[in-house]
């Protein structure tokens, strides 16, 4: 595998043609809503068509796939080659994957977000590799002088059925590259998969156990300097003045100057210290004295933020979705339930702190870094530096975590602004304290929920009002009268059809605190409110929480999931001194149900014994990667539910490092058992959907054990 190498399409064709004969084909999208078309790269080049993704097979039978998505732990470096190898009929060891550079004109959106890498492109990748296989079979049949229908492909060879004669792909690429890709190809039935659906080991693992994987922070350029920035802790204020005399006295410090970058529609100011090594730059930053001008905007504390959210809930919402008549049904209900839930602001806290390298020249800019959205950065820097798009090259390294934070454009912009000033390559390095305090954060939320039951315990009326910062409203020219399009994210689709009268409303909060997607985005907090409330309704109705949900989930896909969850968790055979909680949420086209089991330790304190998760992501590639993502999602959710939160005082983040923002550790982890559903549904997301159901399943389990209802996160397990 070639992992520290980025490749442009033009270079790729150049490199490909060096090894004399190659078969290189790719796909492009002729128009929105149309089927993808497969073309030879040469044809595409001649027609001026930009291919979305492409593969090549050389005369040694080696396959190269250019990957347009980031690898941040979610396993795209394994899943994408597994898809290619399956339909191409090659051994996975012969498939090499390289990172593509950021280029929206070529790839369309490259953002690695919304758990979209596989679900967005798997059908196209299957078709692409099947097309290459058919071209090789056609070339092989010709060479053998037999009919194409008498041949098949296996393990990198074209084989004539009756005679058993075979030719290796490498011998056929020259001939195959003269053929046209087939118009239609038949794809395999999932029952015949040999590589897809297998828990094959990840190709990036060997690099990640000996220190050789190159993350953003590990990339070095000749003559590169290091920059550390003192940023305004109030996010949007200005630099009034600064004293750099002590900073400049630190050996190794070369430059100190003010910088400004765009953070959504605001400007963030800071003072950059540039040195010939990272530590000197960090020392220089500590020695700086900066005076900030923070007039003209509010400096919120956490209490003020939540008071504002609660106050806003008394007003009129921006209505997102209604059905029937909630108010009338609620007023007639024989039993009324209401509850308010609260979730905290959170930091993404990727283990690799933010960093980025820029080398800005008069007429070009090149970027290297741990980046989720290379094409966004290309567009942003093209505007900021007034350079044509093709003069901005964005290279992706491995990401030491992403979780949504590394989709934002601020840190590459910092690197570019600093590089431009010093006229040379520079790596901007965020300290852990910078990473934890500067944001953007997951927004804190308040949910006000009401429900009405009939005399028989039927759910007749359901309302949730959500107050908190709206991520879309931060953008320049945002329409602030528009509702948050994610108000119901996480909520199960069939609930919507089962509940006759409902109403979902949004109450956007204005604040200078920048907010951004955090693993599973709004679902990460919505799920807690929806599935806690569903539990409270079930309890008020006097029904078993799992059976109550089942009664609302008419569709067989959901029924299958809930049945599986009931089976594997032993829901019905639980013992008296055990608390069981269930929650099911849906996001990024996947449904996940989780059951948490809790009990009391000898000292009377609550402990988590076990978590069962059932993931229905439809079509999937690698069951072990799916399980790993669900395990990781549960552990991240455990942290946000019971360990950490970001608070604000005078408009600044209080928690600065892992001492005050404590992560889950190995000592906190219960046993986790993950099951993956097998069905014929379309591929859904894998990296995020396992997160939202955990916290409500946990608090529902605690209610089951103790009768105590937890409505505010985070809470301390030892204080229950």
């Amino acid at each position: 595998m070639n992992l520290d190498k980025n490749i442009s399409r033009r270079n790729f064709i150049k490199i490909s043609s060096l090894s004399s004969a190659v078969l290189a084909i790719g796909y492009y999208m002729p128009a929105a809503g149309k089927e993808p078309e497969v073309l030879k790269t040469e044809t595409a080049e001649n027609l001026g068509i930009n291919l979305n993704a492409w593969i090549s097979i050389d005369s040694n039978g080696k396959v190269t796939i250019v990957n347009h998505r980031a690898e941040m732990g979610q396993g795209s470096f394994q899943s994408v080659p597994q898809i290619i190898a399956e339909e191409l009929e090659v051994n996975l060891d012969n498939v090499n994957i390289v990172f593509a550079t950021g280029d929206q004109s070529k790839y369309g959106s490259q953002i690695t977000g919304g758990s979209s890498t596989i679900r967005g492109s798997y059908k196209r990748l299957l078709k692409l590799s099947a097309s290459a296989r058919e071209m090789l079979i056609e070339a092989g049949a010709k060479k053998l002088g037999v009919k194409q229908s008498e041949c098949y492909a296996e393990d990198g060879h074209v084989i004539h059925k009756s005679s058993g004669k075979k030719l290796a792909y490498g011998e056929l690429v020259a001939e195959a590259s003269k053929l046209d890709p087939p118009k239609n190809v038949a794809l395999k039935n999932p029952g015949n998969y040999k590589i897809i659906r297998k828990p094959l080991p990840r190709q990036d693992t060997p690099l990640k156990v000996n220190g050789s994987a190159i993350f953003g922070l590990d990339k070095k350029l000749p003559g590169m300097l290091y920059a550390v920035v003192e940023r305004n802790p109030n996010f949007i204020g200005k630099v009034k003045s600064f004293d750099d005399s002590a900073a400049k006295a630190v050996p190794g410090v070369k430059h100190v100057f003010k910088i400004q970058v765009d953070v959504f529609s605001s400007k963030r100011e800071g003072v950059a210290v540039v040195a010939d090594n990272t530590w000197a730059a960090m020392q220089g930053k500590k020695a700086l004295k900066v005076e900030w001008d923070n007039t003209g905007f509010e400096h919120h504390s956490t209490d003020q933020l939540y008071a504002k959210m609660n106050e806003s809930l008394k007003g009129e919402p921006i209505s997102f979705k209604t059905q029937g008549n909630f108010s009338s049904a609620y007023s007639k209900a024989s039993k009324k339930i209401d509850a308010v839930y609260e979730t905290p602001y959170e930091s993404h806290s990727c283990m690799e702190p933010l960093n980025c390298i820029a080398d800005v020249k008069e007429t070009s800019c090149e970027i290297w870094g741990p980046i989720q959205g290379p094409d966004w950065i290309q567009r942003d820097l093209s505007e900021k530096l007034k350079l044509p798009m093709d003069k901005v090259i964005v290279n992706m390294t491995f990401l030491g975590g992403g979780f949504g934070r590394k989709a934002f454009t601020d840190y590459p912009q910092e690197a570019a602004v600093i590089s431009k000033e010093i006229k040379g390559p520079v790596q901007v390095v965020w300290t852990r304290e910078d990473d934890t305090t500067i944001g953007p954060f997951r927004p804190g939320m308040v949910y006000q929920c009401k429900a009405g039951l009939s005399g028989e315990g039927r759910l007749e009326a359901f309302e949730t009002k959500m107050a908190g910062q709206n991520m879309d409203h931060q953008n320049p020219h945002a329409d602030k009268s528009s509702f948050n399009s994610s108000v119901t994210e996480g909520f199960l689709e069939p609930y919507m059809e089962s509940i006759t009268n409902y109403s979902f409303g949004d109450y956007p909060l204005e604040s200078p605190i920048p907010v951004m997607w955090w693993r599973s985005v709004y679902s990460s907090t919505n799920g807690f409110a929806f599935e806690s409330f569903m539990d409270e309704i079930a309890n008020a109705a006097g029904k078993d929480p799992l059976d109550f949900r089942r009664s609302l989930l008419w569709n067989s896909r959901y029924q299958d999931l809930i049945t599986k969850l009931e089976e594997v968790s032993g829901w019905k055979s639980r013992k008296k001194n055990e608390g069981y909680g269930v929650a099911i949420t849906e996001c990024f086209s996947s449904i996940v149900g989780e059951v948490v089991k809790v009990s009391k330790k000898a000292d009377g304190k609550v402990k988590i014994d076990k978590v069962w998760a059932v993931m229905d992501c439809g079509w999937y590639v690698n069951p072990d990667i799916v399980r790993a993502q669900v395990e990781g999602s549960i552990i991240m959710a455990l942290g946000a539910a019971t360990k950490h939160a970001t608070h604000f005082e005078d408009g600044k983040a209080v928690e600065k490092n892992f001492d005050r923002y404590p992560m889950t550790r190995i000592t906190d982890i219960p046993e986790i058992e993950v099951h993956v559903m097998d069905n014929e549904e379309k591929a859904g997301g894998v990296g995020e959907p396992g997160l939202p159901p955990f916290s409500p399943a946990l608090t529902n389990a605690i209610f089951d054990l103790t009768g105590k209802r937890i409505r505010k996160l985070p809470f301390k397990l030892e204080e229950v």
Binding site: R202, G401, E631, T664
Partner: protein
């Protein structure tokens, strides 16, 4: 600034740095070995763990002057060909996701197994609780340490 000679993975490197510079930055920026990671700078996350005379230490909080004339081992010194049983076990159990914290995790696990060939869950907790993994690979880390323990035992036979 002062000249320091560091013995890293049995090789000597002479670098001219501030004696107070943490060993982490000397290794990364001056020696050029980047497998050892910066995570928090305050010895809370374990990403920067190296062995000093065989004992795991947080290189982010150890001045370079304190590491002179000691045997320093980094992840690159465990083995570059993944032949160490801990690396083998990490591959067998498919531990890494993003992979950023894994150098530190492996340094802690290999030091634990050297001292204690058959660690219990409690021993594993004690040795590994200083190491943060944001991807949540902990269940697999626990499993891999046990797998490595078995591999080491069968290699001895």
């Amino acid at each position: 600034m002062a000249s320091h000679t560091l013995t890293i993975n049995s090789k000597n490197y002479t670098i001219d740095v501030d004696p107070k510079m943490p060993l982490l930055w000397a290794i990364r920026d001056f020696v050029g070995l980047t497998g050892t990671k910066y995570g928090c700078g305050i010895a809370q996350c374990g990403a920067c763990t190296v062995h000093l005379n065989g004992t795991p230490v947080r290189s982010c909080s150890l001045p370079v002057s304190a590491a002179v004339s000691k045997e320093i081992t980094t992840i690159e010194g465990i083995s570059t060909d993944n032949s160490h049983p801990v690396q083998q076990a990490w591959i067998a159990e498919q531990v890494p996701q993003c992979g950023y914290c894994q150098s530190g995790q492996i340094m802690a696990a290999s030091a634990l197994l050297k001292k204690n060939a058959t660690p219990t869950d409690k021993d594993i907790d004690a040795a590994m609780q200083g190491h943060i993994c944001r991807c949540g690979t902990y269940p697999r880390i626990r499993k891999a340490i046990k797998t490595a323990s078995v591999m080491m035992a069968s290699a001895k036979k």
